[in-house]
């Protein structure tokens, strides 16, 4: 069951990097996954990946930040002065009355529960002011205090759309499929599947922050589904005492004792290897213990940001409320990427339900609180990556499941809005200080250069040097919409 390419890589690893090199390549070589079992058709094309990019990549790693609950595009990156002009009026009383009857509403929408979220008719004015930031003059809500300092690194896409007007859109943003269709591999798992690791000490697909709640995708939000469990995201906690399941044997075990146990196991496995020299599974098992043992010490070390300087702490807002938690996650993300993790997925705003960004009421208060948690850490992350020369090879994505309605919900909220919203990107291969795409005058529909969520996937894949169609697994037909198209306008 060992693929020729893997065998070759394994061999090269032996030659090139000695024992530590064996670890990952043997692990990769031993994916006894359904993917290959299904190889019974005569269809052409796809083959299991060899771990190398398909073409020259622009980035080596991805830090994917996801704001759970739906950040308002109207109070972040997509200013709409017309909302102030027609505040309090019904959409039908404005020159843009067609927005509410646009066929895009029917075509766009697949409701999870029919009729639960309707178009909100009464225009709610912008709650935030806007200002031009950086040399690029990128417009950004004045609720952001720190993000403007890296405006010239950002590319903002204002013309995103999705099809679910409920929080299943969280799952959808990661798999590209509506929640009613079930779970599929996520973008992180495709990267993990397609590319060999950069380090033997860390998992290649890491999840930070509280993953999605059961309502809205659950573990499916960082899952690998049919690719097999080894390609799923590994959730790490930034708690250095308990960063991952079974990281510690409990306080009644001594470190030296565990080391002794591990040395014995290594010796016994070595004896077993003498007996069966080319047992690929035994080799993979040995490698998995080496990696586990290294992870056991490397992961607590990696999540222990106390080792960083005070300046760095300040840059990310570590040790200061309200940025401490998210700041630590961003800092750990940088440390992971620096060490060699391919894909770090940070969830912000998970609250066991729809998410903290879900501003049905008290939008200003809620969003200001959430922004206060992420503003400095994200700006700090981008600045830090840049000063370390990592930004060129790291792709930073800032995304959310949908925007919020131009109409008011209740007195001071906005409802879910899948028809037009914004995301931002920065780093490897991304144009700096640009805005791409547009919504209509009300910020209702994405009208210019519309992008479904998989266009973001395609962009990430492309910048990482992967061609999604070459990864397709036989018997798992994917549609054009699952692949999406790279957003070339924001690529440098």
């Amino acid at each position: 069951m060992i693929n020729q390419d893997y065998a070759r890589r394994d061999f090269l690893a032996h030659l090139g990097t000695g024992v530590s090199g064996i670890a990952l390549s043997t692990l990769l070589g031993n994916r006894f996954s359904l993917a290959e079992e299904l190889d019974v058709s005569s269809e052409p094309a796809s083959s299991p990946p060899d771990g190398n990019p398909h073409f020259k990549p622009r980035a080596k790693s991805v830090i994917w930040i996801f704001l759970v609950g739906g950040m308002s595009h109207l109070e972040s990156f997509d200013p709409k002065p017309e909302l102030n002009k027609y505040a309090g009026k019904s959409i039908s009383e404005t020159p843009y009355k067609d927005a509410a009857n646009n066929p895009l509403i029917r075509d766009n929408l697949r409701e999870f529960v029919a009729g639960l979220h309707k178009v909100q008719p009464t225009i709610y004015p912008l709650q935030a002011g806007y200002r031009a930031c950086g040399q690029s003059g990128l417009l950004m809500s004045d609720w952001f205090q720190h993000l403007p300092s890296v405006a010239d690194e950002l590319a903002i896409v204002r013309s995103m759309w999705t099809t679910d007007n409920d929080h299943g859109a969280q799952l959808q943003f990661h798999t590209g499929r509506h929640a009613l269709e079930g779970q599929f591999p996520t973008i992180g798992s495709w990267i993990r599947y397609g590319l060999a690791g950069l380090s033997d000490d860390v998992p290649q697909f890491v999840v930070l922050g509280t993953p999605l709640a059961d309502c809205c995708g659950g573990t499916g939000g960082h899952g690998s589904n049919y690719l097999g469990p080894e390609f799923a995201g590994v959730p790490l906690s930034v708690d250095r005492n308990n960063p991952l399941p079974y990281a510690s044997p409990g306080s009644s075990v001594y470190r030296e004792e565990q080391l002794g146990n591990f040395d014995l196991l290594r010796s016994l496995h070595r004896l077993a290897q003498v007996e069966s020299i080319d047992d690929a599974r035994l080799r993979a098992r040995v490698a998995s213990y080496e990696l586990a043992f290294r992870m056991q010490s490397s992961i607590p070390r990696l999540v222990d940001v106390e080792q960083e300087t005070v300046d760095t702490h300040q840059l990310y807002g570590v040790n200061t409320a309200p940025t401490d938690t998210f700041g630590r996650q961003c800092l750990v993300a940088r440390r992971l990427v620096e060490t060699g993790t391919r894909f770090v997925q940070i969830f912000h705003g998970s609250n066991g339900g729809a998410g903290a960004w879900d501003a049905h009421s008290n939008l200003e208060k809620g969003h200001r609180e959430q922004i206060a948690q992420i503003d400095k850490p994200i700006a700090g992350l981008i600045a830090d990556l840049k000063q370390r020369g990592l930004l060129d090879e790291t792709l930073v994505v800032l995304a959310t499941e949908f925007g919020r309605t131009p109409g008011a919900e209740g007195a001071n909220g906005r409802d879910h809005h899948p028809y037009g919203f914004s995301i931002a990107m920065a780093g490897g291969g991304v144009r700096k200080g640009v805005v791409h795409g547009a919504t209509d005058e009300l910020g209702f529909h994405a009208v210019e250069d519309r992008h479904y969520v998989t266009d973001v996937h395609a962009t990430v894949m492309h910048l990482m040097g992967l061609e999604g169609r070459r990864l397709e697994i036989k018997g798992r037909k994917r549609l054009d919409i699952d692949y999406g198209n790279p957003i070339t306008a924001i690529m440098s």
Partner: protein, 901 residues
Amino acid sequence: MISIFHFQIRTAHCRSLRDVSRWNQSVCTVFFWAVLMIWMWHGFGYSLLAVDYSKDVKPILQSRCVLCHGPLRSESGLRLDFSGGITKGGDRGPSVIANDLAGSPLIQAIEGMSTDIKRMPEDGDPLSETQIQILRQWITDGAIMPEEPEPFRPADHWAYQIPHAITPEPTSWSSNPIDQIIAMHQTKTGQHPLPQADPATLLRRLYLDLVGIPPSIEEIDQFTANPSDEQYATIVDRLLASPEHAQRWARHWMDVYRYSDWDGYGAEIRESQPHMWRWRDWIVDSLLADKPYDRMITEMIAGDELAPEDPSTIRATGFLVRNWYKFSRNSWIENTIEHTGKAFLATTMNCARCHNHMYDPISQKDYYRFRAFLEPHDIRIDPIPSSLLSPGATESMARVFDKHLTTPTHLFVRGNEKNPDTTHPLEPGLPTLLGGQAVSSSPLELPVAAWFPHSQQFAYDAKKRDVDLAIEKAAKAVSGFTSETTEADRSATIAMLNAVLKELDFIQSRREAELAGIANNLEAKELESMRQAASLTERIWRLAVAESELATQTLVVAKAKATDGKKKGLEAAEKVLVEKRAAAKKAKSAFLSSPTAEFTASGEQYPKTSTGRRLRLAKSIASDANPLTARVAMNHLWLRHFGQPIVGNMFDFGLRSPRPEYQDLLDYLSVRFVKDGWRFRDLHRLMVTSKTYRQASAPYSTGVTHFEYVGSTIRRMEGEVVRDSVLSISGSLDVALGGPDIDPNQESSNFRRSLYFRTSKEKNTVFLRQFDLANVNECYRRTESIVPQQALALSNSELLISQSRRLANRWLQKDTALLDQPDHFIRHAFRSILCRLPSSAELDECMGFLETQTRLLSSASLTAFPNSKPFEPAPSPDPNIRTRENLVNVLFNHHDFVTIR
């Protein structure tokens, strides 16, 4: 445009060849353009000068026409996938007539200009102008094509033929027919069987395979002392008859049937149902009873129609209930269609939801006809008799029944539920190639217990028991009055007793009315008066309840007044009191209102008939004449005994599944399985007693459908086997049968077998998750990853740490020699955990370890793992013993432990 250019090209070309001397200026011009155009056409990949059937015509037909006019479906009797079919044509006669564009139906169809032939293809865009031009040109040129053999017909596909068994040739090697068939193959290929496995390895393999836990040292000793065929057969029979075998194999079938406990958001149930474990227990019970598989299938798909009064049969319909999905009836039904097809028929029905199947002879209409079997069904929760209760269980069961008796089934155009084709309601049916039979389903009259489950005596008894208990409790409170008891307290207690007494009146009176209604042998007037009596007792009871609540609230207020300083509490209590007073008033006026015959029924009543559709589907699937069902089951059996399947794709035996090299073996097993009454136990026995099974295991081979070695391959234990084996070796395993799903957080504190832990999309056991837990959405075959998380789980989890400590101490308490003689301990540990003795090198390593680790643990400067909680029991204070605890833990981490050889 295209045709004009084309004309010019041809003209110029002909003239240039015919008569060079007659060239004139204009022809030269034309020729110049023609050359340019030829170059351009070539540039676009088309050659219009000579249209070639194979190169130009066939690809167009293949890509746009053959799906409907090919081997899968010859619509209008027409096949365009080979020359003979094109010439013969369909209902309209030959599809092409050489040199006659207007008379060729093919051209009329693709151009869409004819009034009586629909534009083809019906689906998707029309053919491009270039494609049309190529076909026109080809016909104009004489429609020249070579003779082609008729391509493969799907009806001839191996999996659609009824299997028949060959007669295995006797061989001196073995009398087992499996071995004889393998020997026939090996004679041809020149292969030889591997030597038989050594007895201890074989016994461990057999135990892990049949019961999912390893043999004890004593069991190994007994067998190795006498590893005869008879002894082996005796062990096989004992294991096959054991409940542990049913538990082990139930988990396999749970994978295939997509077993899932409920899933949801907080307490909200979104998928499957809370009582699903009853279906899990049914699977275990069925295997334990060696219930025929055709019966099992029928019970799972139509248990409610098969035995409408028997809850222990109906619980099998958990197979269907499991697909329940709160947010989409269509997703629910679609999942049921897809996985009923895959689990029993290894057929990808789901590929025909939006369009005709691309590979298999299943039309989109077939998909929706399959759906029609399931259209009427829905789920409900029934009461069940206490005799079927497990400790801690609620007295209910999730089950299916036919609710939507007249809902028509429509084909969804392009699979879009918003676009049903309501002009053609579809009748249920299964394609004949998949074993469909031409019988119609007739509706079944249901017994009372099925349409009015709460009318059953046990349901009434349970209700009465509850009321009696409440009366007893209230009466006790009344008899407990003392001189201290306040008036308010007395009133409240007496009112409570009154309320439950009135409830007893009501349920008795209701019972009489309901039974009379069911019996239907009274005069209408008589029945009416019984119903009125029930109605009256209900109103009396409701009034008593309202008065009881009022009295209780009066007491609350009195108490609040008595305790000073709680003004807020008093206010709230008084507010509730006002509400209760109003409620009591309302109940009183209801009581005084004019008599009616309406009362609250003891439970819901459902349709009195079932459509019988699912029973018909089940009988087609579970039929001796179905070509797929038995083969699919045997393939699952073989995979799990041998580590590799006979047919590579577990859930698709369709046209993309090539004829397996060992089809004769599969067919022999399938025929025998059916002939002997669909009983698994015989087939398990046949497989594991074969010499093929008992061979030394071969390394994992590279083939999927061709196995280089036919025999057991090396595998990794599933997570359940890892956990159960650890607990079994440590002596902690609780092999009790059945019961509600266990909270996954108890993975290390509850020692029941792993299959009893809750498992659903989100709710499952962290430990099992590390070892490729079955994906509840689809798992026809487990994956076997090797990842560092498994290493952490085996070395650091509370389960492993605790059990290692317990185990080492248990041994040492039993036999003190194990402490004094380290080599004894090491041998004992190897034999218990790995079922083998250590090599001398291994023994040396371990001896060295015991010595150095003991020394290490005796030293003063040691660092404990920081900031984590200790696992119980604590390590031994004696370094000698603690070192042995460590050794046990290390052996559980040995590759040989999780590996089945």
